[in-house]
Symmetry: C2
Subunit: 304 residues, 2 copies
């Protein structure tokens, strides 16, 4: 049982209230020495930007969106600028955000020429009429809302094109707990190198790559189709809600993925009790930045 449950069941103990907590990832894949340093630096910048939000009593929702926005600007990650190219040589991006406190969510998929897909997902959430907008409809919505648009080709980073074509993952994501105990998750990606035009992976699908409720917030990365078939973030969340600790819930989800699905996986999660857990499959590398006190720390997730 985690600390919050103990506290609430013992009337002599004051309620346990964990402080703001944050976990950010930059995608899972093989270890690639040449990208290690810029990725560590990018994650540190994203975590610092989100830390500032949380430290100023901002919401978890604002914090995860802030972290992902910074990573979308960074060409070393496969999201926003620097996204991989689809089979037609174009960038099509996906993003989602979910607010655990309200259960509201917003997502976009297959959008072109949007500088910050996560801000468009946030606009869909705030608008409230839809949860998921795709393609030209999502782009028209961005136009209406005055979101920053660009020539779709400007998101292609020429100096990264050759290198990025070797990566097929690099999705970014963030989960956070704020001072009021609310959770949120956000995820953003350019998808899979050479993907079919119009292919949507797990990232923008609520319950698959992105999920948050009152107990836990989850962001997943890896082989999207495999994550979707298991509805993995939601599966992890329901297992956690049954009373298991977060480490076990994340390990169970990773084990089920490994036993039943092809491909690789990275998971990050934070609970309302302030637990943070990150994990990737054996032989893979998931770099994360975490923060709860002091300075954000960049580290590799366990993958045993």
């Amino acid at each position: 049982m985690h600390p919050a449950v103990q506290a609430h069941t013992d009337p002599l103990m004051p309620p346990f209230r964990p402080g703001p907590t944050l976990l950010v990832h930059g995608g899972v894949g093989p270890y690639e020495a040449e990208f290690e340093e810029p990725r560590r630096a990018g994650l540190a910048r994203a975590a610092e930007a989100a830390r500032e939000v949380l430290a100023a009593d901002g919401t978890a929702l604002d914090a995860v969106v802030r972290a992902v926005t910074v990573l979308e600007d960074d060409p070393v990650f496969n999201a926003g600028r620097g996204s991989v190219l689809n089979a037609a040589g174009e960038v099509e991006t996906d993003a989602a955000v979910m607010d655990g406190a309200s259960g509201n969510a917003g997502a976009v998929a297959g959008v072109q020429g949007i500088v910050h897909p996560v801000l468009l997902a946030r606009a869909v959430l705030d608008d409230g009429r839809a949860v998921l907008l795709v393609g030209r409809g999502a782009e028209g919505f961005a136009e209406e809302r005055g979101l920053e648009r660009c020539d779709p080709r400007s998101l292609i980073v020429e100096t990264q094109r050759a290198a990025l074509s070797r990566h097929h993952r690099g999705t970014v994501g963030a989960v956070a707990l704020d001072r009021t105990g609310h959770l949120a998750a956000a995820t953003s990606t350019g998808g899979l190198t050479g993907k079919l035009v119009g292919r949507v992976g797990d990232t923008p699908l609520i319950g698959c790559g992105t999920y948050a409720d009152r107990h836990v917030a989850v962001s997943a990365t890896g082989d999207g189709e495999s994550v979707v078939r298991l509805v993995l973030a939601h599966r992890l969340a329901l297992r956690y809600a049954e009373g298991r600790d977060l480490t076990a819930a994340v390990r169970d989800a990773a084990d089920l993925f490994r036993e039943t699905q092809p491909g690789i996986l990275g998971l990050i999660a934070v609970s309302a009790a302030g637990e943070i857990v990150a994990r990737s499959l054996p032989g893979t590398h998931l770099l994360v930045a975490r923060w709860s006190v002091g300075e954000p720390e960049v580290t590799s997730a366990p993958n045993d």
Copy 2:
């Protein structure tokens, strides 16, 4: 405990093997007298077509796709021909299919000019490279695969336009169990009348409007955003897997929806034990066709 569980735990009993079973729905909404008869007739035709597949030892996957294909052709339902119009006065359709035996799925969203969206979803499943294709990419994939295409305007049924504009639901779906014990689910829709261009609801999202595994197959209909926020079909499936009977799992899902979300809901589900359950919320009407022996029977789902 349901019969299959009892049989498998008693070595003296032969394994219980339920026969092929089928449940088809035509959308949830207020009772509308003028559509009752054509909807009953349409559901009976769809169930009969799927019954023929199952009776000839066809797969659950083939059966649910067959039922939904018949309903997409029928202008009285909000799927394929007869779909409602979005905010731009156009038809954009969504569909998904999931094979419980393999855990594979295929889905399309925001597609135009496709006569049978469920067949396109099936083609995505069979292709295997993606789970979800959207918009122009999905339409290009249909072109490659030689699926039947049409002028997008030909899916608009002029004589239904005025009437359909009063409905905002009418999604169709089917779940089936075949002789080998395999389950499948399929769902297809034109979405919400006046929806934002590019809006995608629960129908094509695996775990939200459509889900199947080795234990249960589920198809949902109603207010899509509310279904998505709860990842409802997957939630129902995990509750069922915990060992509860299907009636209780469906009721729990409907109760949670009613307590936490705006809007209306219809659910149909079939288990590997041969249980079939359909339910809608109080004050709403969900017409279903069911079959396990004899002739398919069209009836209203409980809504108490």
